[in-house]
């Protein structure tokens, strides 16, 4: 099986993610219950959006203790692809699989709207084929999406090329007005050092079909699917 989409109690975008994988990309994909620990048959694990365990305490803070997360950590260490979308990104940060932390949005409100993000790197499986500077139009929907890292960490992320997406205007300029949540340095998505774990706050699964007002998200899904295929052939 190529894709596993983790279902925590309180996940609410797993069906959307499965829809895009199965109905739009025609990829084999199944839900993975948060108590499952056998990920041996997957090439890519997706942690979807939602409110895992109610996001009580802090977004993702309880989900990191779900049994599946130890397996996800091993899966990532073995080189498997791990993709966190919105709440999934928060879970990966809480689990220490991605650097940094999430704060409440600068406006202290939930924000659901379209944003533009600039692709910074294409040297990871999740953005392969998307030239740096490419602007993607994607929706966000979150209340704790203000990415934070201290100066030393941010510097390290920059040096290692781990900042993958930044909020920008429609021309690709990373202005403050284009930042929906106050994220430091307009960071919208980061990867780990090994480049096989990737998290982003926007929801590519919400714009993978033109009928929904845009299909830029499909580019990310296609890149991931390609990568999963080549991983499967290792």
């Amino acid at each position: 099986m190529r894709f596993g989409v983790v279902v925590f109690p309180g996940s609410n975008c797993e069906r959307d993610t499965l829809h895009v994988l199965r109905e739009v990309l025609h990829e084999p994909a199944v839900p993975v219950w948060h108590e499952d620990t056998d990920l041996a048959n997957f090439d890519c694990i997706v942690l979807p959006g939602g409110f895992a365990h109610g996001d009580y305490l802090r977004a993702g803070a309880i989900a990191r203790f779900s049994p599946v997360m130890a397996a996800v950590e091993q899966f990532a260490a073995a080189g498997g692809l791990v993709w966190g979308i919105c709440n999934g990104f928060q879970v990966l940060v809480e689990a220490g699989l991605l650097p940094g932390a999430m704060l409440q949005n600068a406006g202290l409100r939930f924000v659901c709207r379209w944003v533009d993000v600039r692709v910074e790197r294409d040297d990871l499986p999740f953005t392969r084929g998307l030239a740096p500077g490419t602007v993607l139009h994607l929706p966000v929907a979150h209340h704790e999406g203000c990415y934070y890292a201290d100066a030393a960490t941010l510097d390290e992320l920059d040096r290692n090329g781990q900042i993958v997406l930044r909020y920008c205007d429609s021309k690709g300029v990373t202005v403050a007005a284009a930042n929906p949540n106050g994220s430091i340095a307009n960071v919208a998505g980061v990867c780990n050092r090994a480049r096989n774990v990737f998290g982003l706050m926007p929801h590519p699964e919400r714009c993978a079909e033109p009928l929904l007002g845009g299909a830029d998200g499909l580019q990310l899904f296609e890149a991931v699917a390609q990568a999963a295929v080549s991983l499967a052939g290792r």
Binding site: G54, C86, G107, R109, H143, E205, L211
Partner: protein, 740 residues
């Protein structure tokens, strides 16, 4: 309460006459618990004792109807083996006292009404009314209600796809929070709430039971007063995370052959759910309160039976299947208590362990409320002046900008951006365009939701106002290109024992009935909220109608936004009235009569726009509503970021310009299309015998209407945007959290 304390009928909201009726029927006096059970179930909120005779007049059947009023929600056939399940419900009183939790649990309650039927909730909408923006509580209530809707809806993963917000001094201190939910089910797997099969076990699933919301239904059926703040304990506390788990667990059971019936615990809690299930099924039910999981120690049977703790469900399963069903709830980490069984004696029998603590006939408890018989009266035809008592302002462009920045007409973006309106990836037309368009995955079809409400017109002329609410809701759906197939209504009124309120209720329902008949669309569910008063004054009569439309092909729908180089026409009458218009109210004149509504013309105009959109000729359509023609043109220009050059003076002759620009009337729709289609559009309009007026062409960055006004789009946008934030929605509500 202490056991020895004897409750009086008044403390549970019953009249002396109702109490005597109970004693005579039971041939004994009820004990405290029994009296409490009657109090909640015989409240207006649960029994509709005032409104039932009137509600019977509404048409509730039609070609698509699978389930009319009487179950948790109504259901209609939408083809492809699917049913749409829909209902609107109020949560006004709780929101007045504790806006965040009041609104949140309003959302939670309407969601449960939908998934109790085995339908997955796919969309929410809210009709909200608040007091004067300058009133000291308005900002607090607005921020809290919006925060509560987001807090709950965002977490459960059901998109809030639209709604309405109205400000008027009549709602000072008594806001209205009406939540509508739409769900989709397999047509053949709809659950009912009819308990069946003596001996079948009864499960209480979901959350544990606490002391919140005790006797909330009774609270909802009295007027708010100075002591309202003291009613906080009657407000429930919502947990959207638990609701999300409950949705998934219950839907896992949809179509399960061993599930006999399902009923959510809403108003009147366990008392309501158990007695209604038994009464609907024509059987009895036996419950042991000692088996109910509690949040607190020491709860009495009275408290357990009357608690309105949220996120609970009562399920009747086939004997022997209880372990299978309980395993599903175990997996989702939810309680599933085996609390009783179905009986064949028609009684609701409550035990506390070995002790029998209440025994009442189910049918009498949930359906025996004596109906209130008001004096028969003719709805009085209002005699109102139709001449506006103010002169035409000099600068009509400035008036347009002021109206666009006014609380009732300014952009709602800052509200709907706080709601997740995209989750479930069905939202084709997002909030802000008059109606929401959703795709139905796995089919070519779409569903369209529209709202209609016109309290200002209802206050002046309740019959016309009621008909307008239906017409507007259907018109919004028609503008998207869809055929309305079902309505749900929420009737928000003051104390029905006031003659004026009763008269208005009678006339509004008559108006709704007439419009339903002419437009050929049934009411499949609804709710009545009476006693909306503060300090002795009733609110304006506020019927809110939600319309569900069906699009055979979801790709063929119109948007409420101009495109460049379109020809722009008005369908329907050119004439409009200042009476009951937003502009007149904004100018300080609220006593004018609304324009008469010609329902037959309304039907033809809606059929016409539907054909124009279906045929692919028209890609832009919106109804002309609050603020009249000028505001509708400005909204279309703002949404599309394309200007309009209109010239009207010639058609209008000597009408006063502000009436032409800002006057209101029913049956009016603006359409935009490629000029190449002019002849075909004209032919279709003639076939429907719909009058048309050419308004102008789109292009540029200005909104120009003859010599009367010319406004720059960017300036209009600047005034229109962000105006709501100044009222208080900007003050983050607190309590809302989390992410998608």
């Amino acid at each position: 309460m202490r056991a020895a304390e004897r409750l009086t009928p008044g403390t549970v909201g019953l009249t002396e006459a109702e109490y005597r009726h109970i004693c005579e029927s039971l041939e004994r006096e009820p004990n405290n618990l029994e009296l409490g059970m009657f109090g909640v179930l015989w409240s207006e909120h649960c029994s509709y004792k005032h409104s039932k005779p009137l509600l019977r007049r509404l048409p509730t059947t039609g070609a698509h109807v699978l389930q009319g009023p009487g179950e948790n929600a109504g259901a209609v056939d939408i083809g492809h083996g699917l049913a749409a399940v829909m209902k609107i419900e109020s949560h006004n009183h709780p929101s007045a006292v504790e806006p965040l939790q009041g609104a949140a649990t309003g959302v939670g309650g309407i969601l449960r009404d939908i998934f109790t039927m085995g339908a997955r909730p796919i969309a929410l909408m809210d009709a909200l009314c608040f007091g004067d923006p300058g009133h000291p509580r308005t900002g607090y209530l607005l921020g809290g209600v919006v925060g509560g809707i987001g807090f709950y809806g965002n977490c459960v993963g059901v998109p809030t796809v639209g709604g309405s917000v109205t400000f008027d001094a009549c709602y000072n201190g008594n806001p209205l929070v009406n939540a509508l939910c739409l769900g989709i089910a397999d047509r053949d797997r709809i659950f009912t709430a009819r308990a069946q099969g003596p001996g079948n076990p009864v499960l209480l699933v979901g959350s544990a039971t606490g002391r919140d919301g005790i006797a909330g239904a009774s609270f909802a059926s009295v007027e708010l007063g100075a002591e309202t703040e003291e009613r906080r304990p009657a407000v429930q506390v919502g947990n959207p995370f638990l609701e999300k788990l409950l949705i998934e667990a219950c839907l896992e059971l949809a179509g399960h052959p061993d599930v006999v019936a399902m009923q959510d615990l809403g108003a009147a809690g366990l008392t309501g759910a158990s007695s209604e299930m038994a009464a609907h099924g024509g059987c009895g039910i036996e419950i042991d309160v000692a088996a109910v999981s509690r949040r607190e120690a020491g709860m009495t049977p009275f408290e357990v039976m009357l608690s309105e703790s949220q996120e609970r469900m009562l399920i009747v399963v086939r004997a022997g299947a209880e372990q299978d069903v309980r395993a599903v709830f175990d997996r989702w980490g939810l309680h599933s208590d085996l609390i009783g069984r179905v009986t064949d004696d028609g009684l609701v029998r409550i035990h506390d362990g070995a002790n029998l603590v209440a025994e009442l006939p189910a049918g009498y408890l949930s359906g025996g409320t004596p109906e209130y018989q008001p004096p028969v009266m003719q709805p009085s035809k209002p005699t109102l002046r139709s001449e506006a008592p103010f002169s035409v302002p000099d600068d009509l462009g400035a008036v347009l900008l002021d109206l666009l920045a006014s609380p009732n007409l300014c952009s709602r973006r800052s509200l709907f951006e706080q709601y997740d309106h995209m989750v479930q990836i069905n939202t084709i037309v997002p909030p802000g365009e008059g109606s929401a368009v959703l795709r139905v995955k796995g089919t070519p079809s779409g569903l369209v939701l529209g709202l209609g409400s016109n309290p200002r017109a209802c206050a002046a002329d309740p019959y016309t106002g009621g008909a307008l609410a239906v017409a507007e809701a259907c018109r919004n759906v028609a503008c998207a290109g869809a055929r309305p197939i079902a309505l749900t209504d929420c009737l928000n009124f003051g104390d029905p024992e006031r003659v004026g309120v009763w008269q208005a209720l009678t006339a509004v329902i008559e108006g709704i009935r007439e419009a339903c008949v002419v437009l050929d669309v049934p009411i499949i569910s609804g709710n009545v909220s009476l006693y909306n008063e503060t300090e002795g004054a009733p609110i304006d009569p506020t019927p809110v109608v939600g319309a569900l439309g069906l699009l055979e092909d979801v790709t063929k729908h119109a948007r409420a936004a101009f495109e460049p180089s379109q020809e722009v026409w008005l369908l329907g009458p050119l004439a409009a009235e200042l009476g009951a218009s937003e502009y007149a109210a904004w100018s300080g004149w609220k006593s004018g009569a609304p324009a008469a509504l010609d329902l037959d013309l309304e039907r033809r105009v809606q059929a016409c726009v539907r054909e124009l959109v279906e045929s692919g000729l028209v890609t832009t359509a919106t109804d002309v509503a609050d603020g009249g023609l000028a505001v509708a043109l400005a909204e279309l220009a703002l949404a599309g970021n394309v200007g309009i050059e209109a010239d009207l003076a010639a058609e209008w002759g000597s009408i006063r310009p502000d009436a032409a620009l800002f006057g209101e009337a029913g049956s009016r729709i603006i359409v935009g299309f490629d000029p190449a289609y002019r002849t075909r559009v004209d032919t279709i309009a003639r076939q429907h015998r719909v009058p048309t007026t050419r308004l102008g062409v789109t292009g540029g960055k200005r909104i120009t209407i003859g010599d009367w006004l010319a406004v720059d789009i960017d300036e209009a946008r600047q005034r229109w945007s962000g105006a709501l934030d100044r009222i208080g929605a900007a003050q983050g509500p607190g309590g809302a959290h989390g992410d998608s």
